[in-house]
């Protein structure tokens, strides 16, 4: 620690160079954070998926509907504790395709998702109101909706018996911890089924909770066996696997993100920092020789250069991580298509570890040069 002033002085020796090196390293880590946030968004909540929840859908594809009568048979299946169903509505709001997921659900739906926090009286109001809707905080804030507002949604799939517009009353607004999607729009399945022009008694998919996550595979197999050879065969998977399936459909986002990250870290971080450290050591040849003459060991000289490199990496990189973290927390990335924008603590930890590792790599070669310096040669050269 007592050598810290020496290292600090070295950083300040060429202020312009230090500032631009730090700036480049800073940008590299703003990008790192941005890419992590994008990757998290594309993973669509797979990480926070409930381990005790299963999704039961039509075997052919998600767009095929299932009879509402399955609910009782699912409830009666061993291992199942709660059942709810959901039907995709889509729709248009303000002449654009809705920028939030609109779904018709049954009253039990919120029991399946304890992550969605909603005040008891709001939930009661919703249960009592046929045209009621519960919306997520993100969407309510975005459109300035308050409890009691009437929201018109134009039909795309489900046309009402009259006209082309459905009306809903905002009865409640739900919140959730970061990572859980708070942009959804939930209304009553009964209201949909009574007023649409066909497909009566059909629902999109079922969500169910089981008593023991370790039995998930058994319960899923039991359910699918039960509906085998019926007109609507089913496919049951854990919520995680279901979401992962969606993520895989989008493509290998992770590979793309990692390739971009590699390019960013190599060009903006490693190359710039290594060059700066090399220049810095070259300029200080005679000084380093003097230090060695004074009795600084080779190891200590090596350490000083490495610490200088790591310090720059941490200063620039840490600032980049911090600024992006606060920007994300402040909600400046929130958008409709990818509603979950988070930076996980794991991303930050990996970022800091990357800073240190790349700092060592960038400083390694110059530090070795400094360590191997022979006093007589170095002093003669100047």
């Amino acid at each position: 620690m007592k050598y810290f002033p020496l290292i600090w002085r070295n950083l300040l020796r060429r202020k312009v160079r230090t500032i631009f090196t730090l700036a480049s390293v800073f940008i590299a880590f703003v990008l790192y954070s941005f890419l992590m946030v994008v990757q998290n968004a594309f993973s669509m909540g797979v990480e926070v998926a409930g381990v005790d929840r299963l999704v039961l859908m039509h075997k052919v594809s998600l767009i095929q509907l299932l009879p509402v009568s399955y609910a009782d048979r699912i409830r009666g299946t061993e291992g199942v504790t709660h059942v709810g169903h959901s039907t995709w509505f889509g729709g248009m709001y303000q002449d654009k395709a809705t920028q939030f997921a609109v779904m018709a659900v049954d009253p039990a739906y919120f029991q399946l998702y304890p992550e969605a926090r909603i005040q008891q009286e709001q939930l009661q109001a919703w249960l009592a109101d046929r045209q009621g809707v519960i919306v997520g905080r993100t969407t309510a804030t975005r459109y300035g909706w308050n409890i009691g507002d009437k929201i018109p949604i134009q039909a795309t799939i489900w046309q009402p018996k009259q006209g082309n517009t459905w009306f809903f009353n905002v009865d409640g607004i739900y919140d959730a911890d970061r990572g859980f999607d708070t942009s959804n729009f939930f209304f009553h399945y009964e209201y949909l089924d009574e007023n649409r022009r066909g497909a009566y008694g059909q629902v999109g998919w079922y969500v169910l909770r089981i008593d023991d996550p370790s039995h998930a595979a058994d319960v899923a197999a039991r359910l699918d066996a039960q509906f085998a050879n019926s007109s609507a065969e089913t496919k049951t998977s854990t919520e995680k696997a279901f979401l992962q399936g969606f993520v895989n459909q989008v493509g290998n986002i992770k590979a793309i993100i990692i390739s971009i990250l590699a390019a960013v870290l190599f060009t903006l971080f490693l190359l710039v920092l290594a060059n700066t450290m090399a220049q810095s050591v070259r300029e200080r040849t005679s000084e380093l020789a003097v230090l060695k003459t004074l009795g600084f060991s080779n190891g200590l000289v090596l350490g000083l250069v490495l610490v200088e490199s790591i310090l720059m990496a941490l200063l620039g990189g840490g600032l980049g991580l911090a600024i992006t973290y606060f920007a994300v927390e402040g909600g400046s990335f929130n958008n409709a298509l990818l509603p979950v924008f988070i930076m996980r603590s794991r991303d930050i930890a990996i970022g800091i570890a990357l800073c240190c590792a790349l700092g060592v790599v960038a400083g390694a070669f110059p530090a070795m040069t400094a360590m191997r310096l022979r006093i007589t040669d170095a002093l003669r050269r100047t």
Partner: protein, 397 residues
């Protein structure tokens, strides 16, 4: 006067560009930095470009698509068979021997495994009418033969065949209770159509319990100009509840969300990386100026004017940027152009197979961006060089 100024500037610029190899390591930082930005910029946008092209190439100016009012895609539309019969009477629709050239179609999804991940993906299955290949005259069979109507035969697009397993020529696959036999592979300009599987529309009506209903009618018009006649007749007809779009507009709308998402992310990354690369370039150019302090001061002492010194530094920076930009653009072209992949279109939840497209416009954009980075990166160091006080600079070192 001007000629002397010009020749001075050229001489000094040539000197600084020619001596770049002497500052190889620091020059490499700027060059590789800029090349890296251009690679990422071009590569990310080539994804968006490829996706857009796959959607745009699916359309022709003389085709129109008819769906139920309010439907935002074929997936959400529904047309009773009776309405289809009325649609086929519309003026403006091309007729050959009194036969309307239009195809009433159904569009559903089937689960097939993606070859790359081995997991299920929503692949579009299109039920087509007898005139479908006359309507889409760019589609043609490249392997095997066309399916026979009235049987459970199907043809598979080149893209679907490449991206998903279980749909090779001669194989059979199940979708629910529907067993389909692949008898042909078709191509269609590399467009989104090639991600689809086509079979007789009546098969889908039966298995998917659609009765006598369809989802869309794709119509070939007498000419692109006949669209308004066609549309007006249909939308004012009280028997119908439909909307009519030019096919190009329909696909542009279907690709909008995905394209703007890719572009948004791509530009954000490119701008941030560009700022970082400018910092790298500034560092490089400061180093270049400071190692050449004595040289520059000597030139000034000999009577070379400040402007020529300033421009020479900018020229060096631009030269590095140009090399970096070209290097990056070419690398991106070699590495990514034509790379085959598929993704899910968020608007229809269905798969779209496409190839990355590194277009000439993208390359030009990449190199222009590189030059901009070089210009901005060289500016401050250039001003510093031009302002160098001759006496102190010569005394230094």
């Amino acid at each position: 006067m001007i000629r002397r100024w010009l020749s001075q500037t050229l001489a000094v610029s040539a000197l600084s560009v020619r001596t770049i190899p002497q500052r190889a390591s620091s020059s490499a930082v700027a060059m590789i930095g800029i090349a890296g930005v251009v690679i990422v910029f071009v590569a990310v946008l080539s994804i968006g470009e490829g996706f857009r092209a796959a959607m745009a190439d699916a359309s022709a100016p003389d085709r129109a698509i008819v769906m139920r009012t309010g439907a935002d895609s074929e997936m959400t539309s529904g047309l009773p068979g009776l309405e289809v019969q009325v649609i086929e009477q519309a003026p403006g629709l091309l007729r050959v021997n009194n036969r309307p050239i239009a195809s009433a179609e159904l569009y559903v999804l089937v689960d097939l495994n993606k070859r790359s991940t081995g997991t299920a993906a929503n692949v579009p299955l299109r039920g087509i009418g007898a005139e479908a290949l006359e309507v889409r005259n760019e589609a043609h069979i490249v392997d095997g033969r066309m399916f026979q109507f009235g049987t459970n035969e199907a043809i598979v697009g080149r893209g679907a065949n490449r991206q998903f397993s279980g749909v090779d020529l001669g194989s059979e696959f199940m979708s629910g209770n529907l067993r389909l036999r692949v008898v042909g592979i078709f191509e269609s300009n590399g467009s989104v159509g090639e991600t689809e599987i086509w079979c007789d529309s009546h098969l889908i009506q039966g298995v998917y319990e659609r009765g006598n209903s369809y989802q869309s009618v794709l119509a070939k018009l007498d000419s692109p100009a006949a669209f308004d006649t066609f549309k007006n007749w249909l939308t004012t007809n009280p028997q119908l509840n439909v909307q009519v779009q030019r096919e190009g507009d329909y696909y542009a709308q279907q690709s909008q969300v995905m394209s703007s998402l890719i572009r948004g992310i791509g530009y954000t990354i490119a701008v941030l990386m560009g700022v970082g690369a400018v910092f790298g370039a500034i560092l490089t150019m400061y180093t270049a100026v400071s190692t050449r302090t004595r040289e520059i001061a000597t030139l000034r002492a000999l009577g070379f004017n400040t402007a020529s010194v300033l421009i020479s530094v900018l020229a060096e920076s631009l030269a590095l940027a140009a090399i970096g930009g070209l290097l990056g653009g070419l690398t991106a072209y070699v590495a990514f152009n034509g790379y085959q992949t598929s993704t899910m279109n968020f608007q229809t939840f269905s798969q779209v197979a496409f190839a990355f497209r590194v277009t000439r416009t993208l390359m030009i954009q990449g190199v222009s961006y590189a030059l901009m980075m070089g210009l901005v990166g060289g500016l401050m160091p250039a001003i510093k060089a031009a302002r160098l006080p001759i006496a102190t600079a010569l005394r230094q070192l």
